[in-house]
């Protein structure tokens, strides 16, 4: 009889917890893999494809599936370091011997040379180039990610990648520089 009560008690407990777990599995279901999201937010979203994947998200998925974390030149060392922290692996130098601190650039179209072929517009991954057929094109600098993808398709080579200008807001004190002043 005692055995019966024990079984009954344990059985009902098992049922209750089973129901709770079952409910939780439905109610708090995780959509997709959250690690991909986390990796994606670390990547610089230039969508340049230099990693060999067609955009930042595909690369994030690849990293989640075990790809190397050092294939993102626009992100530089900082991105590799963050990815290493997140993935729990050793930080490696950038693949392909890229410089550690990438220079931020934006595309600039020399407008008098532009023939209006729209090829760069089609190449831009973030729709940062405006223009129409046989009309001059121009780059929305604020939206340009500096991915270089528009440079190659241009048939007249009128696109330059210029470094982003330093403004007062982005200027930094050079702490290790020797101050040179001249009084005139």
């Amino acid at each position: 009889m005692t055995l019966f009560y024990a079984l009954l008690a344990l059985g009902s407990l098992a049922l209750i917890f089973g129901l709770i777990l079952g409910f939780a599995a439905v109610r708090f279901r995780v959509q997709g893999s959250p690690i991909v999201e986390q990796i994606d937010t670390i990547l610089p979203q230039t969508q340049c494809g230099q990693c060999g994947y067609p955009g930042c998200r595909p690369y994030a998925e690849a990293i989640a599936n075990g790809d190397e974390i050092n294939k993102c030149p626009p992100g530089g060392e900082a991105t590799v370091k963050k990815l290493a922290d997140l993935m729990g692996v050793e930080a490696k130098p950038l693949a392909g011997g890229e410089q550690a601190e990438p220079v931020k650039t934006v595309a600039y179209i020399r407008e008098d040379e532009c023939i209006g072929c729209t090829k760069c517009i089609q190449a831009c991954p973030v729709d940062a180039i405006v223009g129409a057929t046989r009309q001059m094109h121009t780059v929305l600098i604020d939206e340009c990610t500096g991915c270089d993808l528009c440079v190659e398709p241009c048939p007249v080579d009128c696109i330059d990648m210029l470094p982003v200008e330093t403004t007062k807001q982005t200027w930094k004190w050079q702490l290790d520089a020797i101050p040179v002043t001249q009084i005139d």
Binding site: Q45, D127, T166, Q169, W171, K172, L175, D184
Partner: protein, 756 residues
């Protein structure tokens, strides 16, 4: 609250933590009255001298400007205009080094003074109490006033505070060593400053206004007390001399025992702070109508012979100020803009005075030594004791050096006011503030990048979506054509058309039918000419309308026929055309002359009815079919489509200008001629016929707009039927006949219009 005000009125102050007592060095410059300087050779006025956006340029190079004339106008939010500091000519508008430690170039207006110093027209207000809130804000905004204490915050935004202001605090502390600009301003212009305070009271209606002055400025305190005697809502509070009691947050804590929350602004706790210089500028803007074009600048330091305060026009080069006060530079001379604690060394003295420049310090090496090499932190914690914001400068320094930005945020780096007290007390001469500044910029940059990355991601995804959508649309377009042809509806149409062709074949062979039609048409012409009957015309018109619609539908069908059965499309096209012609003819006959009706009267009527029903249905589909139809390899279909489009256009033209019929008539005929000449086979002849039909349709519409023009219609009819009948025999003949028909039609039309 009552108790707090009571305590404030009793003169109680609440000291803030930390603070330092550097030597004042104020006696050098505060003994003399404010001097006016001779006009400089040129003035460099940067477009942006405040926090916020540039104004929009409203002057051009070479233009003459008067003193006080606006050079820019505010456009975006937080933009404040700048004004010409004196009358003269704009020599250039170009990038010049800015008053910033980086000296990064900034768009500036260079004015060559003409020496007359002629004011533009000013509109002073003598009784500001009559002004509305908005008017007063506009005056402050348009006068280009921005905070003159150092930060350059647009004053109009502060003055237009939406939050209720309990305490209005006037910052007259001037805690930084050497600087005496506010001190002497209060001594000389206390009354104007109090007027400015009263204007702010009018705007903000605070419970209490507190003027905070350090106890090392007894003359200023006396002057302000004297000037504010009449207003019991203003109290002058003497505060102990501690650096940095002039910091906004520190002063609020000192005077009201309230602390501004981290990341918040004083207005969050019902407090608003303004510098005395700003209040003086407000008074000048309202009572004098003068925009902000000059300010008091302390020029001091051991290398200045005649240290003192001067009225400097905005844009005056620092070099001019130094020269006027007698400057004998030492080797490796440094010139600092601002005070020794928070100021920065200028890279060049060819930089103009801006709205926030309160002091030019040219020290020799003994009074402000070049900082020695940085040494290791000995963890003495002197910096933590000195910090007025109760931060841990030592911790922050470690994190800044190792670029641990998350930790920096955790330790409230952004509450640092960069007062430099920590660096001042540091025995290891660590430039702590510089580390913090770099870290702050880095963090802000990272945040901006994060935002940008988010946006890039969003745009990338939107683009991907769009491309997918376009791809899908393209595929659908390819699919739709065969699918539509196969649809039951279309099949039915085809079957109907075939049935009609058969029916007509049963009755009589094509030739005889056509011949009969010609005969009928001729007969009708004669009768029509003899006795014009209005009712008959009306009926006829209605019938024609129907017929036109049916015809349109049929043509669409015939195109599809051609596509579906490429083997015998030629035959089908011809047959369909004939069928249509007959159907049309039949309807005509039926509606106009029942007596004249031929043997197949009844059947034709039925056919016409079917055609009409279908036409209605087709007409509904027609528009999208037209546009959706892809480029067809069959020339005939293309030609037919062109003919249709032209006919439509012509018809529209005719509707809009009915008197212009002759010219419009000639246009399509030109088109049809080459088509006929180029015809190589019967298919092309069919095209010519189609064009002719299109014209007929147009003519029918034309007649709608010209009801009396009966004769023309008749001629059109004959013209239309002729090519159809003859194309079976000979293309050349058909073309000639069509041309003749056209000529005839033209003549008839003219006749008709003459008659009418």
């Amino acid at each position: 609250m009552e108790k707090l005000i009571q305590q404030i009125k009793q003169g109680k102050v609440w000291p803030f933590p930390g603070g330092i007592h550097p030597p004042g060095q104020k006696a050098q410059s505060n003994t003399q009255a404010i001097k006016r300087l001779p006009l400089p050779e040129k003035l460099v006025v940067p477009l942006k001298q405040h926090i916020g956006a540039n104004g929009q340029l409203i002057v051009d190079k070479g233009q003459s400007v008067l003193k006080g004339q606006a050079l820019t106008k505010p456009v975006a939010n937080w933009s404040v205009p700048v004004h010409a500091p004196t009358s003269g000519v704009i020599a250039d508008i170009c990038q010049m080094p800015s008053a910033h430690p980086s000296a990064l170039p900034e768009l500036s207006i260079i004015i060559t003074p003409d020496g007359h110093d002629t004011w533009c027209e000013l509109s002073p207000v003598t009784e500001p109490t009559t002004l509305s809130h908005e008017q007063l804000i506009d005056i402050i905004h348009n006068s280009g006033i921005a905070g003159m204490g150092g930060a350059g915050f647009p004053t109009y935004i502060k003055a237009d505070s939406r939050k209720p202001i309990e305490f209005f605090i006037v910052n007259a502390v001037e805690c930084e060593p050497y600087i005496t600009a506010d001190d002497v301003l209060m001594r000389e212009h206390a009354e104007q400053i109090v007027k400015g305070i009263e204007l702010m009271q009018q705007l903000l209606s605070p419970t209490l206004t507190i003027i905070g002055i350090e106890d090392n400025k007894p003359q200023a305190i006396a002057a302000m007390k004297q000037a504010s005697q009449h207003n019991d809502k203003i109290i002058v509070q003497t505060v102990p001399t501690v650096y940095p009691s002039g910091g906004e947050k520190q002063l609020i804590q000192l005077l009201t025992d309230k602390e501004v929350p981290s990341g918040g602004i004083p207005a969050d706790i019902g407090v608003l702070v303004q510098n005395v210089g700003t209040l003086f500028a407000i008074e000048q803007a309202v009572y004098q109508g003068k925009p902000l074009i000059e300010r008091v600048v302390t020029v001091t330091g051991n290398t200045i012979h005649n240290a003192g305060n001067v009225w400097a026009l905005l844009g005056t080069e620092i070099k001019h100020l130094l020269d006027c006060q007698g400057f004998s530079p030492v080797p490796q001379q440094r010139v600092v803009m601002g005070g020794p604690m928070m100021g920065f060394t200028l890279p060049t003295v060819r930089i103009g005075v801006v709205k926030t420049t309160n002091c030019i310090l040219a020290p020799d090496h003994s009074e402000l030594a070049e900082p020695g090499p940085e040494q290791a932190c000995i963890r003495c914690s002197a910096c933590a004791d000195a910090c007025p914001a109760s931060l841990l400068p030592q911790q922050l320094q470690w994190f800044a050096k190792s670029k641990e930005y998350d930790k920096l945020k955790e330790y409230n780096l952004f509450d640092c006011i960069e007062c430099g007290a920590c660096a001042y007390v540091c025995p290891s001469e660590i430039p702590l503030v510089q580390y913090y500044r770099v870290a702050k910029v880095e963090i802000k940059e990272q945040q901006a990048e994060q935002v940008k990355a988010e946006r890039a991601k969003e745009r990338f995804e939107l683009r991907k979506e769009r491309l997918e959508r376009e791809q899908e649309a393209r595929q659908n377009r390819h699919k739709r054509k065969p699918a539509a042809a196969k649809s039951a509806d279309e099949k039915q149409k085809v079957a109907d058309a075939l049935a009609r062709v058969k029916k007509s074949d049963d009755k009589a062979d094509n030739k005889s039918a056509v011949a009969a039609a010609i005969a009928r048409a001729k007969a009708k012409k004669q009768t029509g000419e003899l006795e014009p009957d209005n009712t008959a015309v009306a009926q006829e018109r209605a019938a024609r309308k129907e017929q036109a619609r049916a015809y349109k539908a049929q043509k669409a069908e015939s195109n599809e026929n051609t596509n579906d059965t490429p083997a015998d499309d030629k035959k089908a096209a011809v047959a369909a055309a004939i069928a249509r012609a007959k159907a049309k003819k039949a309807t005509k006959t039926e509606s106009t002359e029942t007596t004249d009706a031929p043997v197949d009267d009844k059947k034709a009527a039925v056919a016409a009815a079917i055609a009409r029903a279908k036409a209605k249905k087709a007409a509904q589909n027609e528009s999208n079919e037209n546009t959706d139809a892809p480029a067809d390899d069959k020339k005939a279909a293309v030609a037919a489509a062109i003919a249709r489009a032209k006919a439509k256009k012509a018809a529209k033209e005719n509707e809009s200008q009915p008197t212009d019929e002759v010219t419009t008539e000639s246009e399509p005929s030109q088109e049809s001629e080459p088509a006929a000449h180029n015809a190589e086979d019967k298919k092309k002849a069919a095209v010519a016929a189609a064009i002719a039909r299109a014209k007929a349709k147009k003519a029918a519409k034309e007649n709608d707009s010209q009801p009396t023009d009966e004769v023309t219609t008749e001629s059109e009819l004959s013209q239309e039927s002729e090519p159809v009948s003859r194309n079976a025999e000979d293309k050349k003949k058909a073309a000639v006949a069509a041309a003749i028909a056209r000529a005839k039609a033209k003549k008839r039309q003219q006749e008709g219009s003459d008659q009418s």
